[in-house]
């Protein structure tokens, strides 16, 4: 029985049998995994074998906020969805914020597991203990914004919080996102899994309170966190005024803002046209996630070039994916195309990088106008980006069908040397940092359990020069294996599991994140976790996810970079002369595996799994003769 933080319940909904079950959340799972991504990885490992078809009935969607969600802890309205990713075939874990996360807690649940597959379109309606599976035939085919409006009317409650898919998820695009309000569980094709289950939306309204085990200690931990936020040199006013788009200026000055499918990173200064000044000139106000005093989300209105009326909140990553990586210098088109992706339920990052790949093939003559449905796919053509987003969302014959499952599948369909220009790792398209300019940041892309995912081990030491745990030369290779392990474990333990906004950890408490998490989670839940326990949770989740991926067929060979990153050198700008040779990659990987106490083939050792109390993972490896 939990004293607080947790609601103590797991809600299990089977869409094949239309059954609803409520189970107790085992205390050991709470203690060992905290919540969020930790719960997701644990339930995925236990319940979804590594070889299932991600779009089949046996895959599951595991939604889990953390013990701090719905409490007065700042910036804790986050929720993870975990599934077997159709885009990568690995663990697919994606986090979203906004207001939806806390609503699941208020309804009384720590975990929501969706199983099976409905034969007809449905949506799930949760109102505290009342859970119903409702007909969604009339909203099938609608975009994410209209879907949210109609469901609110349907359930007669404007305060219902909704996560839903758009047309992209219905059409099983492996780049489909799940959208809640204007926020997204963006990456890894989680929207396609929802579509494969014929599940249009999850609508939640809760009226319960999240109890606090030790209010006095919780209040002290909360105050400490708020004070640290106030003392942060960047959260107020910069971050709340500028949001993530400021990073365009940062990585541009460092020469690692990737451009034109990474073929000319550093050669053009995109901060002049789509940097913070340009994006600020379109600002209409900022938005906050529930319980967040910062409000970093910047709402923007497009002004010209035919994009008038486009309103959206593009993050840094989108200035890259719908901007520099497709050679686009129109901030208005970025706002508009971001809005389109949200509307249709698409991951802006994977979509933009896949379009960049198509543009390069087009310019190289490897795709013809006949292949592109007549669209002029030259870099910089922002109208082409708009057209392609629609083609992808509706999986239209020809170019839509070719692109809609992401870069890896597109490369396979085209064959020949096309894959040399596909910028993905394990099937997940690269985020907005050229790995050649920040080696630990890059090594995290290569080794993260979700594929090329900056958020699983953000190297703020390299990108922002923050000297925690110590200062690092971003170009150096030595020491980056150790640093990547540190970044991945701490990020997982202090943001992805409890679930706290990652920006706080970098900007407010980077040096004391584990203690801060231990104080907040312990006082909220009564679990009495030490900072060492918290640290171990990060390691445990990363190890369990690794073993899951091994069971899904991944090996050391998949911990790599696209060919261009290994073969080509950045020619100009603040990272000129940089590349990551195969030798550099091998050195970093060897060090990373050693730091993790994994064998050099990337398989966790018996000793490490025993230390982390993961007998289930050891048994899986033993059964496969890998231990």
């Amino acid at each position: 029985m939990f004293q607080g933080g947790y609601m103590g319940k797991v809600l299990r909904v089977n869409l094949t049998t239309k059954t609803v079950l409520v189970e107790d959340l085992p205390e050991k799972i709470a203690r060992d995994y905290i919540g969020g991504a930790g719960f997701g990885v644990k339930y995925l490992f236990d319940e979804v074998p590594g070889d299932v078809d991600p779009l089949g009935a046996d895959n599951k969607l595991i939604f889990a906020p953390g013990p701090l969600s719905g409490t007065a802890a700042p910036c804790a309205s986050r929720i993870a969805v975990t599934t077997k990713s159709p885009l990568t075939g690995a663990v697919g874990m994606s986090l979203s914020g906004g207001y939806f996360p806390v609503e699941l807690k208020f309804a009384g649940y720590d975990v929501l597991i969706i199983e099976g597959q409905s034969e007809t379109p449905v949506y799930l309606h949760i109102r505290d203990d009342k859970v119903s599976i409702k007909n969604a035939e009339k909203i099938w085919g609608m975009d994410t914004q209209i879907t949210q409006t109609i469901i609110k009317q349907d359930v007669g409650d404007q305060n219902t919080r909704i996560a839903c898919i758009g047309q992209a998820g219905e059409n099983l695009s492996k780049m489909a996102a799940i959208i809640n309000e204007r926020r997204a569980f963006g990456r890894k094709g989680v929207g396609a899994v929802m579509g494969s289950k014929n599940l249009k939306a999850i609508a939640i309204r809760g009226t319960k309170e999240v109890p606090i085990a030790n209010p006095e200690a919780f209040s002290a931990a909360r105050k400490f966190m708020l004070d640290a936020m106030k003392q942060s040199p960047v959260l107020y006013p910069e971050f709340s005024k500028l949001g993530t788009p400021m990073v365009v200026d940062v990585t541009s000055a460092m020469g690692m803002f990737p451009s034109e499918n990474y073929r000319n990173t550093g050669e053009k200064d995109y901060s002049e046209t789509i940097g913070v000044e340009a994006s600020l000139s379109r600002n209409k106000g900022n938005e906050h996630c529930y319980g967040c005093p910062v409000g970093c989300t910047q709402l923007k209105l497009a002004k010209g070039q035919g994009y008038e009326g486009g309103m959206s909140d593009p993050e840094y990553e989108t200035y890259y994916s719908l901007g520099s990586v497709v050679g686009v210098e129109s901030v208005d088109s970025i706002i508009y195309n971001d809005m389109l992706c949200d509307k249709y339920g698409l991951d802006t990052m994977s979509v933009g990088v896949t379009i960049a790949f198509a543009m390069e093939l087009f310019e190289r003559g490897m795709l013809s106008a006949a292949d592109t449905n007549g669209i002029d796919l030259r870099f910089g053509n922002h109208q082409a980006v708009t057209q392609l987003i629609e083609e992808i969302a509706f999986r239209r014959a020809g170019i839509g069908e070719l692109l809609c499952d992401g870069s890896r599948i597109m490369a396979e369909k085209i064959g020949g040397d096309a894959g040399d220009f596909a910028m993905h790792i394990k099937g997940l398209e690269l985020p907005a940092y050229d790995p050649r300019g920040a080696k630990a940041h890059g090594l995290n892309f290569a080794t993260s359990y979700t594929g090329a995912d900056h958020n699983r081990g953000y190297a703020f030491q390299e990108v922002f020069g923050i000297p925690v745990p110590k200062a690092y030369d971003r170009f150096a290779v030595a020491g980056k294996g150790w640093l990547t392990k540190w970044n991945q474990d701490i990020r997982c333990a202090t943001t992805d599991c409890p679930t706290m906004c990652g920006f706080l950890m970098d900007m407010a408490v980077p040096a004391i994140a584990e203690q801060n998490t231990a104080d907040l989670v312990s006082s909220a839940s009564g679990l009495a976790l030490t900072k060492e326990d918290v640290g171990k949770v990060g390691e445990r989740v990363n190890n369990l996810a690794r073993v899951y991926n091994i069971s899904a067929g991944f090996t050391r060979a998949d911990d790599t970079f696209p060919k261009r990153i290994i073969d080509e050198t950045i020619k100009e700008g603040g990272s000129s002369g940089q590349r990551i040779s195969q030798e550099d990659l091998d050195l970093m990987l060897n060090e990373y595996y050693e730091a993790r106490n994994w064998a050099q083939d990337g398989v966790p050792s018996q000793q490490k799994l025993a230390e982390l109390d993961l007998p289930e993972a050891a048994a899986l490896l033993e059964a496969r003769g890998l231990l």
Partner: protein
């Protein structure tokens, strides 16, 4: 004498003559701290206050890189400069 390229962004640019990039000339053997002091002499006390705490250390969140490497991984403000070096100065930044 040595010539060093200085680059900065965002509000620091406004405090440094609205110049994102500029070149400064320093005596042989100059260090990063000398380059920053010279900039402060040129642009005045507002820049000085933005960059430095009363103790003489850099203000929290100000990050300086020489040829891509953050100076905390070198010798801090004592890091020596040579002709043609590129110095990048960031105000407090974050996100992404």
């Amino acid at each position: 004498m040595i010539t060093v390229e200085i680059t900065t962004i965002m509000d620091l640019k406004a405090l440094m003559g609205e110049k994102k990039d500029q070149t400064i000339v320093l005596p042989e053997g100059a260090a990063v701290g000398d380059a920053l002091n010279q900039l402060c002499n040129t642009y005045g006390p507002v820049l000085n206050k933005r960059l430095f705490a009363n103790s003489g250390a850099l203000n929290p969140g100000i990050a300086v890189f020489v040829n891509g490497c953050v100076i905390d991984a070198l010798a801090g403000l004592e890091s020596s400069l040579k002709n043609g070096d590129r110095v990048l100065i960031f105000p407090p930044v974050g996100g992404g």
